[in-house]
Assembly symmetry: C2
Homo-oligomer: 221 residues x 2
C-alpha cells in the first residue's frame, strides 16, 4: 500500500543520473591529476589502456576512435602525439595497407599500467559496497551498458550478455545460474564480465534472444 510508487521510481532515476554524472566528473578530474604528473592527458591514457588490453589483435586508429567514442581525426592526432612521445608505434597493417597496426613500445606498456591507477579513487568508493550490493550494481551496469550500446552511444562492449559463449539461466543453482561455453563452466552473477578478452560477438538475433532471457531471468526477483 505505497503512495505513488511509480512517481518515486521515476525520481530515483533522476537521482541515479545525478550520481552517475558526479562519478563521471570524478573520473575525468582524477584522470587529469594522475596524468599531468607524467605529461599524459586523459585521452592519451585511455588510448594506452585500450592498446594494452587488446594486445592480441591488430588495433587500428578507427578502433581507438570507437573505443573512446571520439572522431577518427581526434584519435589520429592523439595517436600522433603518443608516437612523438615514443609510447606508441605505428606500423602499416599487413592485411590492408591503408590501415595501421598500432602497438605499445616498452615505455608505453609501462605507462599503460600506471594509467590504470587513475581510477583508484573511484575503486575505493566501490569497495564500500557489500557483496550483495556489488552483485546488483554490476547487473544494473550490464543493463545500462547494453542499452547504451543499442543506442549507439558506446561501441560494442565485450560483455557476457552479447557473447556467443554465454548462456544465461541454464542451471538450477541460483548461485551460478549462467554458463560460459568458453570457460566451460557455470557462472554466478558476480562473475559477469564487462570487458572480456575471450568475447566473441553473437549474431544479431542471438543477441536479442540472449538478452531477453537475461533480463527476464531476474524478474522473479
Amino acid at each position: 500500500m505505497k503512495e505513488l510508487p511509480m512517481r518515486e521510481d521515476e525520481d530515483i532515476v533522476e537521482h541515479i543520473i545525478t550520481g552517475l554524472a558526479k562519478v563521471s566528473m570524478a573520473f575525468r578530474s582524477q584522470a587529469w591529476e594522475g596524468g599531468t604528473v607524467r605529461g599524459l592527458t586523459p585521452t592519451q591514457g585511455h588510448i594506452l589502456a585500450a592498446l594494452a588490453e587488446r594486445s592480441e589483435r591488430e588495433v587500428r586508429v578507427t578502433d581507438v576512435a570507437d573505443a573512446l567514442a571520439i572522431t577518427v581525426p581526434t584519435a589520429s592526432d592523439a595517436v600522433a602525439t603518443l608516437e612523438q612521445k615514443k609510447l606508441v608505434r605505428k606500423q602499416r597493417s599487413l592485411l590492408d595497407s591503408r590501415a595501421l597496426a598500432l602497438s605499445l613500445t616498452a615505455s608505453g606498456r609501462r605507462e599503460a599500467l600506471r594509467s590504470g591507477g587513475w581510477s583508484e579513487v573511484v575503486r575505493a568508493g566501490v569497495r564500500l559496497l557489500s557483496s550483495e550490493e556489488r552483485r546488483v550494481f554490476l547487473r544494473g551496469l550490464a543493463k545500462v551498458m547494453q542499452s547504451l550500446q543499442e543506442q549507439g552511444a558506446i561501441s560494442t562492449v565485450r560483455m557476457c550478455a552479447g557473447c556467443t559463449y554465454f548462456r544465461p539461466y541454464v542451471h538450477a543453482d541460483s548461485a551460478k545460474p549462467h554458463h560460459c561455453d568458453c570457460l566451460g563452466k557455470p557462472m554466478g552473477e558476480g562473475q559477469l564480465r564487462l570487458d572480456c578478452s575471450d568475447f566473441l560477438p553473437a549474431s544479431e538475433a542471438d543477441r536479442a534472444d540472449r538478452w531477453r532471457r537475461f533480463l527476464d531471468g531476474r524478474c522473479r526477483h
Copy 2:
C-alpha cells in the same frame, strides 16, 4: 561453501569500474553531440546547469570550479566565453567586491534546460532497472559519492547522508526507515536525494556519525 568468495568480490569491483568508466565515456560523448548543435561544449553546458540549479544563492567563479572539479582559471575562461555568448551575466558581488555573482540570462536559462537532455541516453538505460535494482543502485551510488567526497575528488555533494536534517534508521517501518526533519516525514531508500536544494551541511562530527549509522543500518542485509 563457495570457492574463494573474496577473490570474486574483488573481481566484481574491477568489472564495476570498467562499467562506470564506459558510462562516463557515454556521458562525455553525448554531451559533445548534444552541445555542438547549439554551439556549447560539455563544460559550458555543465556550468549553465549548475547555475540553474543554484539560482537561489550567489554563485561565484570559485563555486563553478568546485562544482565541475576544474581549476579556477579554467572556470574563469569558460564563464567569459558564456558571457560573450550572452548566456551568463557577471555582476560584482554585493557582499565582497572582489567576487562575482554569476547569473543566467533569459536565453541562458533556456539553454540550461536543454542541456539536461544530454543525459537522455543514459537515462533510458537506467530505466531498464527494476524497482529493487534502482534502490540498491542508488544506495550504492550514495556510498561511492560519500567516499569520493571524503577523498576530495568531488566537492560537497548535497545529499541526505551529509545533511543536518537527515536521520537514518529511526523508524521501525523498513519501507521508510529514515527521517527528514526538513520535509518533516519518514523517507524510504528510494527517496534518498543526491542533490537536494534544502541541503544543510552537518557538522564534521555529526556527519561521520550519521554516515556510520547509515552504513551500519544495512549490514543486516
